[in-house]
């Protein structure tokens, strides 16, 4: 009788445990896969909020959705834990029931599974070991081969060939989104609608200011809260690696410099310069120079206060009289570079200085007065523990890597190129870094670790002012009176070239699929990165010296006249908005999460909605 009970209890708990296990396994994989904060609805709402950050109802909706998602996730996880405990209890009952059931039968000897022949068993075991080991070894070899560089490179070539074949054979019509649709989706006002929206903006600005004032009062009561230090860096000219892209998010797309809307601060820079700002942590770096002094400045990104300045003075070999420079270049056209521990600046005198984050001078030296008829303008680039200087001048041209900690030369390569105003960039090809340098007549790839030549392509001419761009293993270079070229970063093969729109000063930028070029006569053009086909063009009736940046899924570019244009980064150049500032702007803005720092001809300011 008891045995029957034990058997039935065991059977019921076993069924229960198996059913529960299946349910838990299903739930486990659901919970594991879940990305509750990245639902399509949430992402869409956040995008809308990015476009128009002054909609409190939308923000409340996002908060509610966020809270619900978090609750749902943790409730699911708690259910899973409770289920596990229940399963353990069931297993305990099952084992107890089974033990009791088998209590009086366990002394009965089992029949051997194997016929007892020790030698036969050993022979079988040997066979299993040999076959099993062989199979595992073969699998390991296949996997090792599949992930080997030879196979990866072969597969990439094959995929590329197949993709080119598909492009050639098939014409896939792109689903076009009308401009109006895009505006509606983004919630952005076009330039021609600006006047109509001006009243609304002004009202909103007033409300926002009142809100800020109220918030300030409450903050004053609670004590000042330390703002979060931005994580995304912008280490030099055109961002990290100088490639024109930034991973910053939530860049305000609606602001007004003169009214101060979404302007965190605005300040003046003591000495002039055409160089672009760099951002690392809460520091903003720029440089400035005139005949009296060459200086490096550090500003606080939250307040705009100057934290320190460092003069490039007392440097052996520094010229007592300034070299002749063009007014469009000046003595401080080269942008600074930082890695968050050191910051370096170079001037048209050939003086290079390096400081720590507190403004203490680490080292300074003169590289020789540049023999340059417009004035030295190449920006610095930091790679690893070295700062790289493209020193292409009319004589004694070279590229130099200096040790960041003491300024000693790591390596140097002589260059026969003519004077160049282009800046170096770092490209990643097959996960290896390449130092890409443009000059007349070559675009050259060096190994940034030792300066070894990787490849060189003779494709440029004229006075090279623009800098190269790179994406997806391809290198792009362009210059007026030469061509826009695409080069295979693996072997330096010329993939395509185009002569339709060429930049004079502004550098091209590339995403995976598109290359964008801004000309000095106001045309912004996009090209297919694979084929070089002109995809779209926009004549904006202005001039571009500043370089375009791809940030937060959009293309940002300032005209010399000081209007910021924002385009969609889909090759179609759909204008998402434009913001006139009234201040001439030559430099390329710097980006970090929620903030954009702009150097205009007269000032330095930070756009932020935070």
């Amino acid at each position: 009788m008891n045995k029957k009970i034990y058997r039935n209890v065991a059977a019921v708990t076993a069924i229960f445990a198996i059913t529960l296990s299946i349910m838990l396994a299903t739930n486990y994989f659901q919970v594991r896969k879940a990305t509750p904060l990245q639902t399509e609805v949430a992402e869409t709402l956040k995008e809308l909020n990015d476009m128009n950050s002054e909609n409190p109802q939308l923000q409340e909706q996002i908060r509610q959705l966020d809270l619900l998602s978090r609750k749902a996730y943790f409730i699911g996880e708690n259910h899973l834990k409770t289920g596990i405990y229940l399963l353990l209890a069931m297993i305990g009952v099952l084992i107890a029931a089974l033990r009791l059931y088998f209590n009086d039968v366990k002394n009965i000897p089992d029949k051997d599974l194997d016929p007892f022949d020790d030698w036969l068993l050993k022979s079988k075991s040997r066979g299993y070991i040999l076959w099993g080991s062989g199979a595992v070894a073969a699998t390991a070899l296949v996997l090792a081969f599949l992930s080997s560089p030879y196979y990866t490179s072969f597969k990439q070539k094959k995929d590329k060939a197949a993709s080119e074949e598909m492009v050639a054979e098939a014409v896939v019509p792109e689903e076009e989104l009308s401009t109006e649709d895009e505006y509606a989706l983004a919630g952005i006002t076009r330039e021609e609608d600006t006047s109509a929206a001006a009243d609304t903006t002004a009202t909103e600005a007033t409300e926002a200011k009142e809100g800020e004032a109220a918030a300030a009062d409450s903050t004053a009561e609670a004590g000042p809260a330390e703002p979060e230090i931005p994580k995304v860096t912008h280490n030099g000219f055109r961002g990290n690696n100088s490639n024109g892209q930034s991973s910053a998010r939530n860049i305000p797309t609606s602001w007004n410099l003169s009214a101060g809307t979404n302007i965190a601060w605005k300040t003046s820079i003591p000495k002039p310069g055409y160089n672009s700002p760099a951002i690392s942590g809460r520091n903003v770096f720029v440089s400035g120079a005139d005949a009296e002094a060459r200086e490096l400045y550090c500003y606080d990104i939250f307040t705009g206060e100057m934290k320190w300045k460092l003069a490039a003075s007392g440097i052996p070999g520094s010229p007592s009289t300034m070299p002749a420079v063009n007014a469009d270049t000046g003595l401080s056209a080269s942008s600074v570079a930082t890695n968050g521990q050191q910051v370096c600046a170079i001037f048209a005198t050939g003086d290079i200085i390096c400081a720590d984050m507190d403004g203490n001078k680490l080292w300074a030296k003169n590289l020789g007065v540049p023999d340059n008829h417009y004035g030295f303008a190449s920006s610095l680039l930091i790679y690893g523990s070295e700062v790289i200087v493209q020193y292409d001048n009319d004589s004694n041209g070279r590229i130099i890597a200096l040790n960041l900690s003491n300024g000693n030369q790591r390596w140097m390569k002589e260059r026969t190129e003519k004077a160049t105003w282009s800046s170096p960039t770092i490209a990643y090809v097959d996960r290896k870094a390449q130092l890409i340098v443009m000059g007349n007549p070559n675009i050259t790839a060096y190994d940034p670790n030792n300066g070894d030549l990787i490849w060189k392509v003779d494709c440029m001419s004229g006075e090279v002012g623009a800098s190269p761009a790179a994406s997806n293993g391809k290198i792009f270079g362009a210059n007026e009176y030469a061509a826009l070229v695409a080069i295979n970063g693996t072997d330096g093969a010329l993939l395509w070239q185009s002569n339709e729109y060429l930049p004079e000063v502004s550098s091209p930028v590339a995403s995976r699929d598109w290359v964008y070029v801004a000309t000095s006569y106001g045309v912004l053009a996009s090209f297919n990165a694979e084929t070089g086909e002109l995809v779209a063009e926009q004549d904006l009736g202005c001039q571009f010296y500043s370089s375009p940046m791809i940030v937060d899924g959009k293309l940002f570019i300032f005209s010399i006249e000081g209007t910021l244009y924002m385009f969609s980064n889909n090759g179609q150049l759909t204008l998402l908005g434009s913001i006139p500032t009234g201040e001439n702007t030559y430099a390329t803005p710097a980006f970090t999460d929620g903030r954009m720092v702009v150097r205009s001809q007269n000032s330095l300011y930070c756009v932020s909605s935070l």
């Binding site: 089974l98 040997r126 409450s218 996960r431």
Partner: protein
């Protein structure tokens, strides 16, 4: 210093906790709410180290006494319950002798790593006992073995040909555990410990599920983890094979009743065998000679395969993975930034430094993968040789490498029962 050493031992747990904390970004509160600072209580580990080692010694002593003096499984069952309760549920399965292999290996390879003394003792004491008395640690002191024994209801025997082949897995597991420990990648024995989640009532649900599966298997077959996975058991088996004192099924003459053979949950009792193979001695010798010749080839093949696989194996290393993520991001910055990449940039690190670090890890992996491959080749070769040896047995014998000292055979042996009865009648006969 002591706290520091203990902290190192608890690194895997800390990693898990850190991961759990960062599952979500923190919500933004507009009310001005300030998040409290994380604070972790520093445990009084010195005291607990002493208690742990003392309990280990006491339990080992009880099991040894039960096996060699008392010859009964009762005390071992009691030790199993205490071990599961104390080392398992109360102490959460840490420090654990199985995982200590990794700490000891890392301490040998990396002088900058300080080995906690308690971890070293947990590693060495069971080995000393194994050298003296056999695998008494496995009998009931190890909470993993004890837990499997406690849930065991009935032994359904597995094919000995299969279990013989599977016995190389613990060595392969050991090779990989050493590889990942020596390269400072992770302690995989701890990470994939199937029972720790059960003892702690929490952790990775996948690993807990694996632990439950093992327990379910343990209900119907003896100690699957100990036999087919445990790398420490494999090491103890080596010492147990040559132990100074060896337990015997019965001190009296074996009557070949087969009961002990049937009772053994880990199939460590070999039945009498006439050694009639149908194969000439010359053929047998030839096979052994061939395997001995093949042994270096297997070691070389293992070394080469593991060396070629080392770049893939190294992808488990955080620096290598981070390098892949950062370079992938640098190549296509349109993509969503992974939190690891964001942290990389926010720490002010640069890719040149990361690449140098990654290259150092890859070099380390090349070296240790080669050594691990040699070990795997050696184990396979030696196993093949062992399986080629012919030896007859006149009576039931214990395979001391496999015997976990559970003492079940003692209770099944009718000769022991007769002895016990005689001992009750005449205490002088009690051994």
């Amino acid at each position: 210093m002591k706290r520091f050493l203990t902290s190192l031992g608890l690194l895997p747990l800390a990693g898990f906790l850190a991961g759990a904390v960062d599952r979500f970004p923190r919500p933004d509160f507009e009310s001005g709410y300030q998040y409290p600072e994380y604070s972790y209580a520093v445990p009084n580990e010195m005291l607990w180290d002493i208690i742990d080692v003392s309990v280990l010694l006491i339990l080992l002593g009880i099991v040894t006494w039960a096996l060699f003096k008392k010859r009964t499984k009762g005390p071992i069952l009691a030790v199993s319950i205490v071990s599961v309760g104390y080392f398992g549920f109360f102490r959460g399965g840490c420090v654990c002798s199985i995982g200590s292999i990794q700490n000891v290996a890392l301490a040998f390879a990396d002088p900058s790593y300080s080995l906690p003394i308690a971890v070293f003792l947990f590693f060495i004491i069971p080995i000393v006992f194994a050298f003296l008395f056999g695998r008494v640690f496995c009998a009931g002191v190890c909470p993993f073995g004890a837990l499997q024994d406690l849930v065991n209801v009935k032994n359904y025997r597995l094919s000995r040909a299969v279990t013989g082949a599977l016995s190389i897995i613990p060595w392969i597991y050991l090779a990989f555990a050493l590889l990942y420990a020596l390269t400072r990648t992770r302690f995989i024995i701890c990470k994939f410990d199937p029972f720790i989640g059960i003892f702690r009532m929490g952790g990775d649900i996948g690993v807990i599920g694996f632990g439950i599966l093992l327990l379910l298997m343990s209900v119907f077959t003896g100690r699957p983890f100990c036999r087919f996975l445990c790398p420490y058991g494999a090491i103890l088996g080596l010492f147990s094979r040559v132990s100074v004192f060896k337990a015997e099924i019965t001190p009296k003459k074996c009557i070949s009743c087969d009961l002990c053979h049937d009772s053994c949950p880990v199939d460590a009792i070999k039945a009498p065998y006439g050694n009639k193979t149908g194969e000439t001695p010359v053929e047998g010798v030839k096979r052994i000679v061939v395997y001995m010749a093949v042994l270096p080839v297997l070691m070389l093949a293992g070394a080469l395969i593991m060396r070629w696989s080392s770049p893939d194996l190294a992808r488990a290393n955080s620096e290598v993975r981070l390098y892949e993520m950062v370079t992938a991001y640098e190549a296509a910055m349109d993509a969503e930034m992974e939190p690891e990449v964001e942290a990389f940039y926010s720490q002010g690190r640069n890719l040149g430094e990361l690449e140098a670090s990654k290259d150092a890890v890859l070099r380390s992996f090349r070296l240790y993968s080669t050594l691990a491959g040699i070990l795997i080749g050696l184990v396979i070769g030696l196993k093949l040789l062992e399986m080629s040896l012919k030896r007859g047995r006149k009576e039931y014998e214990i395979d001391y490498a496999s015997c976990v000292g559970c003492a079940k055979c003692f209770d099944y042996c009718p000769q022991n029962k007769a002895l016990a009865k005689a001992s009750v009648q005449n205490p002088e006969t009690d051994r």
